[in-house]
């Protein structure tokens, strides 16, 4: 108990406390920040329309991407869990392997897919020309798939989907399949069984998956940075700019803590919804 706790206090709690303190400070010179107890940094983040828009955008992009991840990961986890035992390790490996591959590399790989002369556009052009649509509507115009919200959402789903499969698979695997048999035997339809038995019993896995995926998405920096371009920036990019290029640590610290408060708010809503305590038993 002591080693783990001490580690967290020293290398996690103390750094966060420093950032929290800095968020109430102001820059006095290029490298000095004085903590003056001012609330200006928070006020600036919450009154400036530019930053409000970015916060709002980060929220809806993350929510949408999380929902898409669940919609994709649940059927896949379900399929794996009901597959024959000898196929399970292979299927699980296929879906989890990309998660082991570096986040940056996977994001970089998407650039080649989405750019104007990328594989997605080449594929669409091929379909377009095969269907002879170029005779009807003129030559194929490449779609702008990169450097917009679409690219960020697609990138987030692509990057985080395997992460959702892990908790979902674990909880579906733990589900006692005889409950499903009982439900079907007692006359419930497949969809009724799914919504009234399977989903409630696997809710811990669903909630855990949603949380595991939503929070890194909300604070994501790399995906919007590489795929979003200048017009699809999220809160993480603004924070990074304050700490690197703009060198306005107090404002960046305030934004970080606002992001943390939103995270805590999401956690509180979740614990009310699922009626369980926060903590490790997510």
């Amino acid at each position: 108990m002591i080693p783990g706790t001490a580690w967290l206090v020293l290398f996690f709690l103390a750094p966060l406390a420093i950032i929290w303190a800095i968020s109430f400070g102001e820059n006095t010179s290029l490298v000095k920040t004085e903590i003056t107890g001012t609330l200006d940094n928070y006020w600036r983040a919450l009154s400036d329309v530019v930053y409000l828009k970015i916060i709002w955008k980060s929220l809806w992009i993350s929510l949408l991407s999380t929902a898409l991840c669940l919609a994709i990961a649940y059927p896949i986890s379900f399929l794996i869990s009901f597959a024959k035992d000898k196929w399970k390790p292979l299927l699980l490996m296929i879906v989890i392997l990309p998660f082991w591959i570096n986040l940056l590399i996977r994001t970089y790989a998407l650039i080649a897919v989405f750019r104007t002369r990328g594989f997605a556009n080449f594929g669409l052009e091929w379909i377009y020309n095969t269907l002879q649509l170029d005779h009807l509507f003129g030559a194929f115009e490449p779609l702008p798939l990169l450097y917009n919200n679409f690219a960020v959402i697609a990138g987030l789903v692509y990057v985080f989907m395997p992460f959702m499969v892990l908790p979902l698979y674990a909880s579906i695997e733990r589900l006692d399949k005889s409950y499903l048999e009982a439900s079907l035997d007692l006359g419930a339809s497949q969809s009724r069984t799914f919504w009234s038995v399977t989903v409630p019993l696997t809710m811990p896995g669903i909630v855990s998956g949603l949380i595991l995926v939503f929070i890194p998405m909300l604070g994501s920096f790399l995906t919007p940075d590489l795929l979003g371009g200048t017009n699809a920036q999220m809160i993480g990019n603004v924070i990074e700019r304050q700490f690197k290029a703009a060198n306005d640590w107090p404002f960046g610290a305030a934004l970080s803590f606002l992001l943390m408060y939103v995270t805590f708010g999401a956690l509180a809503i979740r614990s009310v919804l699922s009626g369980r305590k926060s903590g490790m038993e997510v």
């Binding site: 108990m1 395997p162 970080s256 943390m260």
Partner: protein
């Protein structure tokens, strides 16, 4: 999976044999792998622009191999990942057992505290580490290798070991406590019960947790991006600066090497986890 077409009628619970579910999964699998495959294939492309195929070459691998700072970053990444995995697996297992086995005052609050590094956004932790190591504590930066990596390693341990604890804790939730009671009834002491009854059950969780810690560390860009200095670049941070500079096949070549290493390591780890399942390979 050829036998999927030639068997008895589906039972109501044979979800894995539903055609629509299979087609859906197959489509998702293809979408998951296509970008990575094209990345690998284009690392052999003899074209600077890297848009269309111009013939096979391995010259970008030679270029990556002769890129000293890239190799250095790679060695740094592996060193950090190994060190932080060892520490975080031990810390995580201890915390998991503590939370599973014992009751103590403010346990819920303690659990919440342990889950914090998982819960808070990476970027917040990244900037916190930047403030902590660079300006506030005056953490020494001029140490010789590998000790100059200690700041990054400490940060990596802090965010990986709670993940390890969660994985092991989740595994232990399914443990049948009666087995432990039976063991004690039959005369085993605490220590024997732990190593002969509890630990064998826990082991898949420990292996899974260690693997998760290793990947999280190797994969991490954001926290390291803020913690690393000019002579403590890690592989992802180096590749990031290359991507920002220009998209060339050299980036593809460097990425391919890392992809191959992680894939091979994963396969080995999965074999270790399930030694009787030979079809994994």
């Amino acid at each position: 999976m050829l036998e999927m077409f030639k068997r008895a009628p589906q039972g109501p619970l044979d979800y894995s044999r539903r055609l629509w579910l299979r087609l859906f999964a197959a489509a998702i699998f293809v979408l998951l792998y296509l970008p990575i495959f094209t990345l690998v294939i284009f690392s052999f492309n003899d074209s600077k622009r890297n848009v269309v195929w111009r013939g096979f070459t391995t010259k970008y691998y030679e270029k990556a191999w002769n890129n000293d700072s890239l190799i250095e970053a790679f060695v740094n990444s592996i060193t950090i990942a190994v060190a932080s995995t060892i520490v975080s697996t031990i810390l995580g297992a201890m915390i998991a057992i503590l939370l599973w086995r014992f009751r103590f005052p403010f346990k819920a609050a303690y659990e919440g505290f342990m889950a914090l590094p998982i819960v808070i956004p990476e970027i917040c932790m990244g900037v916190a580490m930047l403030a902590f190591f660079s300006r506030v504590t005056g953490y020494p930066t001029g140490w010789m290798w590998p000790f100059n990596l200690s700041a990054i390693t400490a940060a990596h341990i802090a965010f990986t070991f709670p993940f390890v604890a969660i994985v092991i804790r989740a595994r232990m939730a399914g443990f049948n406590r009666e087995l432990e009671e039976a063991s004690k009834d039959l005369g085993a002491n605490e220590w024997q019960t732990f190593w002969n009854v509890i630990f064998p059950y826990m082991r898949p969780g420990v292996v899974a947790g260690a693997l998760l810690a290793f990947t999280l560390s190797l994969d991490d860009f954001v926290i390291t991006f803020f913690t690393s200095g000019p002579d403590t670049l890690t592989f992802p941070v180096k590749v990031y600066s290359m991507v920002r500079f220009s998209v060339t096949p050299e980036v593809n070549a460097a990425s391919t090497i890392l992809v191959i290493i992680t894939v091979v390591l994963t396969l080995i780890a999965m074999r270790l986890q399930a030694p009787d399942k030979t079809e994994v390979a």
